[in-house]
Each structure stands twice: as structure tokens, then as C-alpha cells.
């Protein structure tokens, strides 16, 4: 049956901001769905609060609402747009939950909107544990025994039924805190009690323990004719007990016989039918007892997921695209397989390679949290690698992570290199037994230390198949290092090492030579990678889509064209500081190349992204973004130019080595990049242009740092050079702080000096994005930060256009930006950060590349800056492109950062110079208050319009908080404050109620938060004393999801937001309407 003709307009709900567990994979799936539906002639209406997504580009839908994803907003959109159907399965859990809420409100019924893809009943059946259990029992499948308890009596009763060990999971806690495994009654008494206390609703779930069981996932698709196919099977290397998002996973399944696999396949088909997902994809997770093969169902997601994005990239089968087509009536045998072009979507992809996904963690940014993995996801991104063997894919994956490692150890960065000797056996065992982000490297240490396989298995419960693979890598490493003395490695061994995924840097380290030596030998012996196709069919059919990975084998399948071609280097795995914004720019580069008729070649290693969709670029190389891997592709493809300025720091770091190798870099040249990044050269340039920067200096040790600080005066900002996202960056107010922190900063970037800048207290910070063609520079947008200077620009909310800066200064900003662009010979994008203090303009830094704010500015102004920049790099002038004047909008756009503190127990939520946010949202409206309120709603800060506001600020903020307090009072809020603040407000005639600090005694402010007596928290502090009053208040705010701010500027903005919310009802408007 072809597509449904009764549907015309379809509403899609996006996933909103990037948060841990909901990353940019939903932009990938949403973008595919929008494209697929529009291809079929449907009108697409979209809501997504995340401006950094491709799906919110105006070309992707008829009506794009960058509005907060709340049921109320969705209702308004439905009321306005009157769609025929709502497709809820593409926007992650956010999309699903919002759709259910909207349905429950009766909105769908009222406006006669049909839910397509998955019905409410199906979603509930999959999401509600009890309904799910019943459904599974009905089809003779088992899920872990479990029960919900609210009292200790219930705990004991349930334990009786389940038997030990039991997993204790408190309901509604932050980051899975308070849970654990109880092995006996005594454990259970202690843990259950703690769990009940930790739970917001005094409730825990007790569950049969399947810790250490093997974990599997199947991606299933079904059409309305009841055809079901399995797209991909995935085996988790890390066993049950570690969130699948935090596990190293492998496709396809490795350690099941066909008989066992088919049982699992039958089960997933039965599950998708029983749950009733009529059309589209689902993800089913299983646990298998390694001792006897007993299989249980862990969960089922009735929507596209992170795993389905991975499965799409791993197989070449576009799950989200097909899901969208199935939702509008097609059957699998009516849709063609794009990759082969000759077969249909009704088949099961088969792989002739091995895919490894490795999560990327960010524990270094949250030193208060232990590096410990549990069932609550902690990773912020992931990388995928493809090889013809697991060993090759694993080592490629490790170097794709961009954590400074070049493979599975032996790269000069092992424990032995950093700490004078290998780790002790007891340390290794400890690191094996408690899952953590470094466990992979400790597996290597374990084999090097000759710890027996069975002990390693017992401690990790990682299947021996995987352990043996790692051991094989270690064995080969040992064999190679035996060549150290002679410094000779045979060609045969070298080939084997390359086929095992070893990088030249590892081999150089192992044989005491340089990477250049290794490359020379390889060149001579013609040991070069070949490129194979990801074709969904293991070469059974000819593939038409060029999606490649490298391996060391005989036959190369890369089809090299003689067209003009440009290579785009992507941004690798998402991390805090380098996320979806950069992928957005890379995708735009690709689109622009297509528009210009230039062949686009994308290189990236991140499976979550739109850039790694096989039809985004003319060619896709799914490869690590390292010098070695990238140069090999360049050698094969011989592109006319390489774009390095869109993928963040990753490609920028490669620009110099690529340039040295004679690769043409498009746009701004590496010398200019260096001039902007090198302190001395940069200062010289500013001097020449008569621009000022805050006083500063560089130091190589703590002593020298202190001297410089004395000279320029405290407070100062201390940071290492050559890192992105403000890693190890801090504002210090005195010598002791400075010396302590200088040491940390020196360690963060060894071999590089640390930078010390005068900190401009209470300055206004501005972010400027500009584009230049070499002769003309046009400002893309000037953003005013809401939080004052000192808070990382990535964590600060910002407004476009600025509202608190006078025109004279804005003109000065524009002039300075243009002068620097000219001086640096910028061709393409440039971002400048300025600070304004006492009417004076300071240049903080210049980045000669696309910045994190490019998508936001593009969405706010309607100017596709990254596309224009690409065309400029190809030689077009801005004049030719028709972009000759800065666009100053009459509407106000606000960007707000979204922070991951709720995932990390014990972390303080204060903002500082080190970036902590994972994502962003945008609010647009005609005035600042409304736009800001929308941004807050989008960031899940549910601003109250009435109730009680709690205020507690440090002394230096007291004067400033007065007007905030006054306004809240006039808005009808009750004000409660702790002792000092209370007295100060009293003295200034602002009525308030005094409340105890935690340290004073009960009842105190945290009691009030717990009891729901406080609706908004304003709390500033330095965060220096651990676990002080402020910390406890901020953690309580997180725990109970009370909106809070830790800055005065934030408080003022919230005030305006609430004022706007009280004044009028929020309205919705499409970005297409904003930009006519």
C-alpha cells in the first residue's frame, strides 16, 4: 500500500537541548524524518528548542518553531497549525513524554490529530514497568523480577520473592544516587533505608540482579503490514550493570550461536508485535546469563534511540528515514535501499566488518564526582570505528576518542610513562572491579602484569572473547617491542600491526623510532590502508553510496572522481566544549559545496551526527580524525582543499601538520590561526591595531605565575594554553589560591605555558561572530552575555542583539572586529570575545574559526553563516553572495546553556570559567523578558509566576541584589533570606522572612526546599569551601528541580522573564515568519 493520502500536515517533536543520555542522535533522526516526509510531499511542522540542530534549519520544514518543548507550547502550535498527525517517536524521551502529556490533556482529540508511529497504548505498554511485565509474560518472556516498596516492611516482603542479590534503585534521585546491590538481608536493610531517604517520593524499586550478565540489543522495524526486520544486533562488551550508553558496544553480536541469536530475534519480533508499535523502529535490550544462556528482556524503547542512530551508521540502513516513511503508510517492500539502489528496505543488513562504539566521558570536568560507571549514564558523547577485525576497530575507536591516546596504550601515555612504572597488581584489580572510564587501559595493564584470564573475567565479567581480543593486541605489542633494541620491525610484522589497528605513533613508541620513520618504511613497503564500503549487504550487491572505512587489506574500493572536491574535517565525538554546534557547521559546509557543484568529502568519527549520514556529503569517510588517518585519506582523494575551521579544535589542531604536508587549507591560513592562538603574536597584533586586552602574562611555573599576578593585580584568571572549553581554568583572588591552581593548570597541558589574565570583575562580555572574504568583513551577530565576564561563554546565557550596550561601543566592537579580520587575513568565519568595563572595550580572545554560537546567530538572524563562509572559502565574495550588511533583528533571541549537574552527584552547580554545559536552547520573542522566559522554559527551568523566592548572596553581591529583591517583592513574591542577606534587605526596607542557614540549625532552608516552600533560588558564592551552605542549597535545588541562579545578572534576567510571563500569555511563531 502506498503512502496515506488522508494526511497532509505532520507535527514532529524534537528532543530539545543536548543533555547526557539525549545527544545529537535525535537531530540526526529528526533531520532524516523531516527530509523523508517532505520528499513524500507532506507538510512538516516542527518544534525544537535547540537552535544548534540541522532539523531546525528553515529549509527542513514548512513551519519550524524554536520554542520550549512543553505540552502547553505544543498545544499552541497544534491550535495554530492544525496538523493531521503527530509523529512522537523521533524526538527521544522528550518527544515521547511530551506527546503523551499532550494526548492526556485531550489536545489531540480536541483538534483531531492522529498519533502515528506508535499509539499512546503502545508507548505506555513499553514504558510502564507493570504493563511491560504483563505484556512480556503473555508472550512467554521474562523480565527481571522486581517490586516497588515505600516501607521497610514492603522491602522485606519483596526481597522474599526476588531472592538475593537484589538491586536497590531509589525512584526519582539525581544521577542514580542512593542505589546499590544488596547481597544479603543486612545489606538490604541498610541500602533500602538509605534509598528510601534519597528518593524524593520515598520509594525504591527492588530488582533481581542480573549484574554481570551479557547485554545485547536488537534494532527492530515493523510496518503496518506486520512485516518485521532486524536492522542490527549489538553486543555490549561491558556487562549488565553499566548503562548501555556508557558501555563499549560492538556490532554485530559476537558470542551467540545462530540458535541463540534466532531465539533473541524471535523474541524481539514478538515484543514489537505485543507492545503494538505499528510502524517504525524499536530497540530491545536483553540480558543473557553467561553460564547457561538464560535470556531475559531488560527493556524496550518504542522509538528511535541512540542505539538506532548507531545501528544506522553501523549498517548503512537509515532507520529514522524508513521509520518516517512507514509511519505514513509505506511498507518495507515499497521502499528502496538507497545504498544498493537495486534492493528493497525489506531485508536485514549483513555486515562484513566489525563496528566498535566507545563512549566519551568527561569526569575531568567534575573532579568532585568519582570516575565510576553505573546504570545511570554519564558519558557526553561517543565515537564509532569500523574495522575488518575487532582489534582494528577497537584501536581505531580509541584514537577517535580524542582523549590524547593513540590506541590501546603503548603510546607514551601509559601509567608507566606518567608515573614511573606500571600500576600495582592491586591497583589494576581495583580498576577492573569497579567499572570506570579508564578500564579499557587497565585491561591492557592486567595482561601485561600477567594476571590470569579467569581473574580478569571474574572481576570484570567482560566476556572472555573480548578479553582474548585485548590480550592478542597486548601480545602483538610485546612482540613489536622486542624490536626495540634493533630498531627494526619487519615489513610482515608491520603489516600485521597495522591490521591490528596500531597507529604509527604507537609503533614508533614501541620500536624507539619516530612516527615519520614508520611512515617511511610503510611508504617503501607499500603498507597503506585500503578503503572498503559500508554497503548493507556484505558485497552481495553493488553499492552506489560511497560510505567508506579504512583497513589494511588487498583491495581498495574508493572511487576517486576527477571533479573539483573539498574535504571537510568534522569534530569527532561530542564533549563538553565541542558539540553539535560544530557538526552543524560541517553539515552546512557540505550543503554549500553541493550548491556550488563541488564534490564534498566528509571525514568524521561520531555516529550521532547528521554529518555522518551517508547522504549528507558526496562521500563519507568514517575515520578517526588524527593526522595519520586524515593524511591517508587525503593521499587517496587528493582534494583541492580541506576545510578545518568548522569542526572546532579537532581539525584546527590538524591544520599545521596538514599544511606542512602540503595539503591546501581552504580559507584562513594556518599562519593566521597561529597568530591568533600564540599569545605573543596576538599581543603584537593588538598593539598594532591599538586595541587593548586585559593585562596578562605567561608563566611556566607557580612561582613565576605569582609574580605576574602581583604585577597585574588580583583577581586574575589562570588557564593552560591550547585547550578548548576552559579546561582547568579558574579565577583566583589571592596568592595561595594562585599557587595551588597554577600547578593544576601546568599539569593540564604539559609542556605549554600557563596564561594569566587580569580578571575584569563585573564587566559585560560580548561574543561576536563575523565573516570575511579577505576584503570585506560583515558582522554576523553581536551577543551580549547575561552572566558577567568570568563565566565561560559556553555556559553563559546571551542576548542577540545586545540590550545593555550603547551604540557607540557597538560601533567600536564592529570596527575592532573588522580591523582584526583584515589583519589576520580571515577568509571565512571568525569569533571574538570582548569585555566592556567602565565604558572601555577589551579584547579577550579571537578564534579564527566557526564558534559555538554560529548556529544560534544563524537562527536568530536568518543568515546561514557557515554556508556563506564555505562559499567565501571557495573564492566567492560576500558581495557576490549578497551578504553586505549586518542583520540587526527587531526580535530578541536568547540562548541559554543546559547543564549536566543532576547527573553528577556531589558536584557544585556554580558557574565559572570552565565550561560545564552540554547543550543549549533558544528563546525568541519580541521583547527580552519573553524571549528569556522561553529560553528558561526550554532549559527546563520552570520559572514561577508566584510564590516564594529565596535569596542568599555573598557580601560583594549584596548591593546589586537589592533591586532584584525589590522587583520580586513588587511582582508579589514572598522573600525569604538567610541571616546576612535578610538583615541587609531589612535595612534597605525590603520586607522578608529570615530563614536558617543549614549550618545554623533546623528548620533551615534545605528543609524549606524539601517541603516545597520555595519556588525560586538566588544564591551566589565562590564555591571555594566545599560542602558549605551555598553548596547544600544548590544541590537541593537540583534535587527538587527548583529553578535557581547563581549570579546576580541571572537573577535580574529571571526577574524580567517572570515579569513578561505575568504580563501576557506566551505566543508561538515560526522562524520562517521571523525571517520573511
Amino acid at each position: 500500500m502506498p503512502k496515506r493520502s488522508d494526511l497532509k500536515k505532520i507535527l514532529i517533536i524534537g528532543a530539545g537541548p543536548i543533555i547526557i543520555s539525549q545527544g545529537c542522535e535525535f537531530d540526526y533522526s529528526g533531520t532524516q524524518a523531516c527530509k523523508a516526509l517532505r520528499e513524500e510531499g507532506f507538510e512538516v511542522v516542527l518544534i525544537n528548542s535547540n537552535p544548534a540542530t540541522i532539523m531546525t534549519d528553515p529549509e527542513m520544514a514548512e513551519a519550524t518553531y524554536i520554542e520550549p518543548i512543553t505540552p502547553q507550547m505544543v498545544e499552541k502550535i497544534i491550535q495554530k497549525e492544525r496538523p493531521d498527525a503527530l509523529l512522537p517517536t523521533l524526538g527521544g524521551q522528550t518527544g515521547l513524554n511530551t506527546a503523551i502529556a499532550v494526548a492526556k490533556m485531550g489536545v489531540l482529540e480536541k483538534y483531531n490529530v492522529e498519533m502515528i508511529g506508535a499509539s499512546i497504548e503502545a508507548i505506555n505498554k513499553a514504558e510502564d514497568r507493570d504493563l511491560f511485565r504483563k505484556a512480556m509474560n503473555k508472550i512467554n518472556l521474562r523480565i527481571p523480577e522486581s517490586g516497588i516498596a515505600s516501607t521497610m516492611e514492603e522491602v522485606r516482603e519483596i526481597a522474599e520473592v526476588i531472592g538475593f542479590p537484589i538491586i536497590v534503585r531509589p525512584s526519582f534521585t539525581l544521577g542514580g544516587t542512593g542505589g546499590g546491590v544488596a547481597y544479603n538481608k543486612e545489606d538490604l536493610e541498610v541500602m533500602a533505608k538509605a534509598g528510601l531517604d534519597a528518593s524524593l517520593i520515598t520509594q525504591i524499586m527492588l530488582e533481581e540482579s542480573v549484574l554481570g550478565w551479557k547485554e545485547y540489543e536488537l534494532e527492530v522495524m515493523r510496518d503496518h503490514r506486520d512485516n518485521v526486520v532486524i536492522i542490527c544486533s549489538i553486543e555490549n562488551m561491558d556487562p549488565m550493570g553499566i548503562h548501555t550508553g556508557d558501555s563499549i558496544t560492538v556490532a554485530p553480536i559476537q558470542t551467540l550461536t545462530d540458535r541463540e541469536y534466532q531465539i533473541m530475534r524471535d523474541a524481539s519480533i514478538a515484543i514489537i508485535r505485543e507492545i503494538g508499535v505499528d510502524t517504525g523502529g524499536s530497540n530491545v535490550q536483553f540480558a543473557v546469563n553467561p553460564k547457561n544462556g538464560e535470556m531475559i528482556v531488560v527493556e524496550m524503547n518504542p522509538r528511535v534511540s541512540r542505539s538506532s542512530a548507531l545501528a544506522s551508521k553501523a549498517t548503512g540502513f537509515p532507520i529514522a528515514k524508513i521509520a518516517a516513511k512507514l509511519a505514513v503508510g509505506y511498507t518495507l517492500d515499497e521502499i528502496s535501499n538507497d545504498i544498493t539502489g537495486e534492493t528493497l528496505a525489506s531485508f536485514e543488513p549483513t555486515l562484513d566488518y566489525c563496528v566498535v562504539k566507545i563512549p566519551r566521558f568527561t569526569f575531568e570536568k567534575f573532579p568532585e564526582t568519582e570516575d565510576y560507571l553505573t546504570t545511570s549514564m554519564k558519558s557526553v558523547g561517543e565515537t564509532m570505528a569500523i574495522g575488518r577485525t575487532f582489534k582494528e576497530a577497537l584501536q581505531k575507536g580509541i584514537r577517535s576518542l580524542e582523549i590524547g591516546r593513540h590506541g590501546l596504550g603503548s603510546d607514551g601515555k601509559d601509567h608507566a610513562d606518567l608515573f614511573q612504572g606500571p600500576p600495582s597488581e592491586s591497583e589494576i584489580i581495583k580498576k577492573l572491579a569497579t567499572p570506570n572510564s579508564q578500564r579499557l587501559f587497565y585491561l591492557r595493564e592486567a595482561f601485561l602484569a600477567n594476571i590470569p584470564m579467569d581473574i580478569i573475567y571474574e572481576r570484570t565479567m567482560i566476556d572472555p572473547w573480548f578479553l582474548n581480543q585485548i590480550n592478542q593486541i597486548v601480545e602483538l605489542e610485546k612482540k613489536i617491542s622486542r624490536c626495540k633494541t634493533e630498531k627494526i620491525i619487519s615489513d610482515e610484522l608491520l603489516f600485521q600491526a597495522k591490521a591490528y589497528g596500531f597507529s604509527d605513533i604507537q609503533l614508533a613508541h614501541l620500536t624507539n623510532r619516530t612516527a615519520k620513520d614508520i611512515l617511511n618504511q610503510r611508504n617503501k613497503a607499500r603498507i597503506k590502508p585500503v578503503y572498503k564500503l559500508v554497503d548493507t549487504c556484505a558485497a552481495e550487491f553493488k553499492a552506489s553510496t560511497p560510505y567508506y572505512y579504512s583497513t589494511y587489506e588487498m583491495e581498495c574500493e574508493a572511487r576517486i572522481s576527477d571533479k573539483k572536491k573539498v574535504m571537510i574535517l568534522g569534530s569527532g565525538p561530542n564533549r563538553i566544549g565541542q558539540g553539535i554546534e560544530f557538526d552543524y557547521c560541517c553539515v552546512h559546509a557540505s550543503f554549500a559545496l553541493r550548491e556550488e557543484g563541488v564534490e564534498s568529502i566528509m571525514v568524521n568519527s561520531n555516529p550521532e551526527t547528521v554529518s555522518t549520514d551517508y547522504d549528507t556529503s558526496d562521500k563519507l569517510y568514517f575515520e578517526p580524525l588524527t593526522q595519520e588517518d586524515v593524511l591517508h585519506i587525503i593521499e587517496k582523494e587528493k582534494p583541492d582543499g580541506v576545510i578545518v575551521q568548522f569542526g572546532g579544535q579537532t581539525p584546527l589542531n590538524l591544520s599545521v601538520p596538514l599544511h606542512k604536508a602540503g595539503v591546501p587549507i581552504l580559507g584562513t591560513q594556518p599562519e593566521s590561526i597561529d597568530r591568533a592562538e600564540d599569545r605573543k603574536l596576538f599581543q603584537a597584533m593588538l598593539k598594532k591595531l591599538r586595541l587593548v586586552q586585559p593585562d596578562n602574562g605567561t608563566a611556566t611555573d607557580a612561582e613565576e605565575a605569582a609574580d605576574i599576578a602581583e604585577e597585574i593585580g588580583y583577581p586574575v584568571i589562570v588557564r593552560p594554553s591550547y585547550v578548548l572549553g576552559g579546561r582547568a581554568m579558574k579565577i583566583v583572588y589571592n596568592r595561595i589560591e594562585l599557587e595551588n591552581f597554577a600547578r593544576i593548570a601546568i599539569d593540564a597541558s604539559p609542556g605549554h605555558p600557563i596564561l594569566i589574565d587580569k580578571f575584569l570583575e563585573e564587566a559585560i562580555e560580548l561574543d561576536v561572530d563575523a565573516i570575511s572574504d579577505g576584503t570585506t568583513t560583515i558582522i554576523g551577530g553581536i551577543m551580549e552575555h547575561i552572566e558577567e565576564a568570568g563565566i565561560h561563554s559556553g555556559d553563559s546565557a546571551c542576548i542577540l542583539p545586545p540590550v545593555n550596550v550603547e551604540q557607540k561601543l557597538l560601533d567600536e566592537v564592529a570596527a575592532a572586529t573588522k580591523a582584526m579580520a583584515a589583519e589576520l587575513n580571515i577568509i571565512g568565519l571568525m569569533n571574538v570575545q570582548y569585555a566592556i568595563k567602565d565604558g572601555r572595550l577589551y579584547v579577550i580572545e579571537v578564534n579564527p574559526r566557526a564558534s559555538r554560537t554560529i548556529p544560534f546567530v544563524s537562527k536568530a538572524t536568518g543568515i546561514p553563516l557557515a554556508k556563506l563562509a564555505t562559499k567565501v572559502m571557495l573564492g566567492k565574495s560576500l558581495q557576490e553572495l549578497g551578504f553586505t550588511k549586518e542583520v540587526v533583528t527587531s526580535h530578541i533571541s536568547v540562548k541559554e546553556a543546559v547543564l549536566p549537574f543532576d547527573r553528577f552527584p556531589d558536584v557544585d552547580s556554580l558557574l565559572g570559567p570552565e565550561m560545564k554545559s552540554t547543550g543549549e536552547v533558544m528563546g525568541i520573542d519580541k521583547d527580552f523578558g519573553s524571549a528569556f522566559a522561553k529560553a528558561q522554559l526550554g532549559a527546563r527551568q520552570n520559572l514561577p509566576v508566584e510564590g516564594t523566592v529565596f535569596i542568599s548572596v555573598q557580601n560583594k553581591d549584596k548591593q546589586a541584589v537589592l533591586s532584584v529583591a525589590e522587583q520580586f517583592f513588587h511582582l508579589g513574591f514572598r522573600i525569604v533570606a538567610t541571616n546576612g542577606t535578610s538583615r541587609f534587605l531589612e535595612e534597605n526596607h525590603i520586607q522578608n522572612i529570615k530563614i536558617n542557614k543549614v549550618s545554623i540549625g533546623r528548620p533551615h532552608v534545605v528543609d524549606a526546599i524539601t517541603n516545597g516552600e520555595i519556588q525560586l533560588i538566588i544564591n551566589t558564592g565562590t564555591g571555594d569551601e566545599p560542602r558549605n551552605d551555598g553548596y547544600l542549597i544548590r544541590r537541593a535545588a537540583l534535587k527538587y528541580s527548583i529553578p535557581y541562579t547563581t549570579t546576580i545578572a541571572g537573577a535580574m534576567a529571571i526577574c524580567k522573564g517572570i515579569t513578561a510571563m505575568k504580563k501576557m500569555e506566551m505566543t508561538v511563531k515560526t522562524i520562517q515568519e521571523y525571517h520573511i
Partner: protein, 385 residues
């Protein structure tokens, strides 16, 4: 583990240096590829692979070892196993032995460490072809000669190599051999007449899982040699006849085609794979050799009666020509969605249906298991008439 240098030579002159993981040896056969990612033990023991060396397109093979249960006949049938990387440390709770030991014990060569995708692409482009592998003679020219000297698949009767030499009953998941003289004429040979359907299965290289499926669905099965006497079969008064899968070209199997001709219309008949082709020929159709065959567990087949798609397990190098079946009083019931080839039919008048693919799976998906139930239904209906 010892690894020995080896060379694969194809009849068209292409060679692939590789390594043997089963010691020294030499072997020959038609080289084909299978795209299943699991199920190598079932593939190795499938009699339909007689005379062929199988390349697994999935690169890592041996992962879960071998076990006594996942066998499709009493021995390894392929002439060689060709893979990218042998996994010498198997891991699975049912594993009793490594794949290398299993192959070695039965004297079957296993080679690895070469570009299996290049070989697969080569076969895709040029068709399945004869090949010779040796660890002894590593001279390409001489090996290519040897490959060219192998008889072609077309026109060969490979069934005689794999069919059972004497009849047996399939009971409780295994063969129960019949002593000489025990199986004379008469219908009293069945133990469960009336409670189970008595089925005579022609063994052209039958896979055990077909027998397991038939037994599980309520059949008592007597497996007979390919050339078994029709008079005897008639004297057993079976409820149904089954024509099995098997290796190679159906055309030279004139005895089987003749038997089928005599049985059509007399008994309910179900054929799988080679059985389907024999029935096609018996009804006056033609068969032809596919370029490189269908071998894998992901082949989409459309059931033309229901409109639904089954993901099927397949293993065949020859196929029934759809056009040749026009006017043969049959209804085409299944087609392959990849290349639209003939996948199954039923007779419009007689109780007879057959499929080209493998509803018994092993390895592969179970989507088509319903066909065994259909066979039961057909026998039920027939016996009530």
C-alpha cells in the same frame, strides 16, 4: 596454534595468498560465499554445500566454537572454509570444542588471513567458480591448472555422495537405523500411525533441522535414499512425501525427477530447495544456474498470497525458471524481492507445494516456519478426503 601458508587459486587465474589454521592440506571445489553473520557450524554440516568451499563474508569466525547440537548432518560437508580472521579462543556456554579442532578432526581445510571481501566481490562480478587451495603447492600457475581440471557443478550428480545409504527413522532428534530386512513391504512400519502423520522423506542431502521441524510438528518420518523404490513407498501408505534439499544441479537427477512425477497427485508433497527444483522439473519446467547463487540468512521473500515479506535462509546455486512454469497448472506463491526469482509454488489441482528457500532455518530466521504447519494441514485435508 600452527599456521601454514596457503594459496587459493581460481579457475579464471586470480589467486589469494592466505594462511591455513587447520594444518597442511589440499582441496578443491566450487567457491561460493555466504552472508550469514552466525551459524557457521550449521553451514559446514549442510549437505547442500557438497563440492563447494564456502567463504563467510562476516570476517570473524569461530567466536563461539562448536557444539554437538548445531549440526545439520553427521559430518562436515564443505570442502573448505574460507574466512578473514579465525577466532582461536571461543566463548559460549555450549561450546565443547574449537572450530579449528573440529575441522582438523574431519580433515577439512580452513584458511584465513586474506581479503574475503575482495574474493566475494570477485565472485559477485564473475560468478561462482572452481577453485583449488593448497598448503603444499604454492605455485599459482600450477594451482590455477588444478582448479581448471575440476569438473563443473553443472551436470554433476552430487546427491549420490550425500544421500543416506539405507533408510532410517528420525526419532527424538536423531536417526534410528533400520536393520536389514526389518523394513519390508507393508504399512505396519509406522509406530504412531493415526497419532502422527507418517511421512517419507527423500534424502537428497537432507538437513537435520528439517527432520527436527517435521518431528516437532507431529510427523513420524522415514528417511529414504534418493533412489528408493516407489513400490515400497506405496506399500507404506504414507500420509505425505517430503523432497529434501541437496547439493548441485537438479537436472542430472533423472531418477528423482521420475520418482516425483509418479508421486505427484498421489500423495501430499512438500519440497524444499533441491526438492522444489525437482518438482519444477517433474512438472515440465526448467532450471538454470544462478550467477553466484543465494547464500545467507537475510534474503527477502514475498509471500504473494498474503503480501507479507519473510526474511529467509537460503542456499542454492540453481533456480527454477519462472517462465518455464507458465501453463503448468501451478500458482507462484513466493518470489525473491532482491532479484524476483522463483521462490515457491503450489499446484492448483494436486496437494503439492514447495519452496526454494529454507523454512527450517538453521542457520537463519524462523519467519517461514509456518510452511511445516501448512504441510500438516495439507496432509490432514488429504487424509479426510
Amino acid at each position: 596454534m600452527e599456521r601454514v601458508k596457503a594459496l587459493i587459486a581460481l579457475e579464471d587465474g586470480r589467486t589469494f595468498p592466505c594462511t591455513s589454521f587447520t594444518g597442511t592440506g589440499e582441496t578443491s571445489g566450487e567457491v561460493v560465499f555466504n552472508t550469514s553473520m552466525s551459524g557457521y557450524q550449521e553451514i559446514l554440516t549442510d549437505p547442500s554445500y557438497r563440492g563447494q568451499m564456502v567463504t563467510m563474508t562476516y570476517p570473524l569466525i569461530g567466536n563461539y566454537g562448536v557444539n554437538p547440537e548445531d549440526v545439520e548432518s553427521d559430518r562436515i560437508q564443505v570442502s573448505a572454509l574460507l574466512i578473514k580472521e579465525y577466532q582461536e579462543f571461543p566463548s559460549n556456554f555450549r561450546a565443547t570444542e574449537s572450530l579449528a579442532d573440529y575441522l582438523k578432526k574431519q580433515g577439512v581445510l580452513g584458511v584465513e588471513n586474506f581479503d574475503t571481501r575482495a574474493l566475494t566481490r570477485h565472485i559477485r562480478k564473475t560468478g561462482a567458480m572452481r577453485a583449488f587451495i593448497s598448503t603444499i603447492d604454492l605455485n599459482p600457475a600450477s594451482l590455477i591448472e588444478k582448479a581448471r581440471a575440476i569438473p563443473s557443478m553443472t551436470g554433476q550428480d552430487l546427491v549420490k555422495e550425500v544421500t543416506t545409504s539405507s533408510p532410517y527413522f528420525w526419532e527424538n532428534g536423531k536417526p534410528v537405523w533400520i536393520k536389514k530386512g526389518e523394513l519390508e513391504d507393508g504399512s505396519d512400519i509406522w509406530k504412531s500411525k493415526g497419532t502422527r502423520f507418517s511421512v517419507v522423506a527423500f534424502d537428497f542431502g537432507i538437513k537435520y533441522n528439517i527432520l527436527r521441524c517435521l518431528e516437532a510438528e507431529g510427523c513420524e518420518v522415514l528417511v529414504v535414499p534418493a533412489t528408493f523404490s516407489l513400490d515400497k513407498i506405496r506399500s507404506y501408505q504414507p500420509d505425505g512425501i517430503f523432497l529434501s534439499n541437496g547439493p548441485g544441479d537438479p537436472e542430472p537427477l533423472t531418477y528423482a525427477i521420475e520418482s516425483a512425477k509418479s508421486l505427484i497427485g498421489q500423495y501430499p508433497i512438500f519440497g524444499i530447495c533441491l526438492g522444489n527444483q525437482i518438482l519444477g522439473l517433474a512438472l515440465g519446467g526448467r532450471t538454470f544456474k544462478l550467477k553466484f547463487g543465494h547464500r545467507g540468512g537475510n534474503q527477502p521473500v514475498k509471500n504473494l498470497k498474503t503480501g507479507t515479506v519473510e526474511i529467509t535462509s537460503q542456499n542454492h546455486g540453481f533456480a527454477v525458471d519462472t517462465d518455464s512454469m507458465i501453463g503448468k497448472n501451478i500458482e507462484l506463491t513466493h518470489i525473491n524481492l532482491n532479484d524476483n526469482t522463483f521462490e515457491g509454488f503450489q499446484h492448483k489441482e494436486y496437494p503439492l507445494f514447495a519452496v526454494q528457500y529454507h523454512p527450517e532455518a538453521a542457520p537463519g530466521p524462523h519467519d517461514a516456519h509456518y510452511l511445516f504447519k501448512n504441510f500438516i494441514k495439507m496432509m490432514k485435508k488429504w487424509s479426510s478426503v
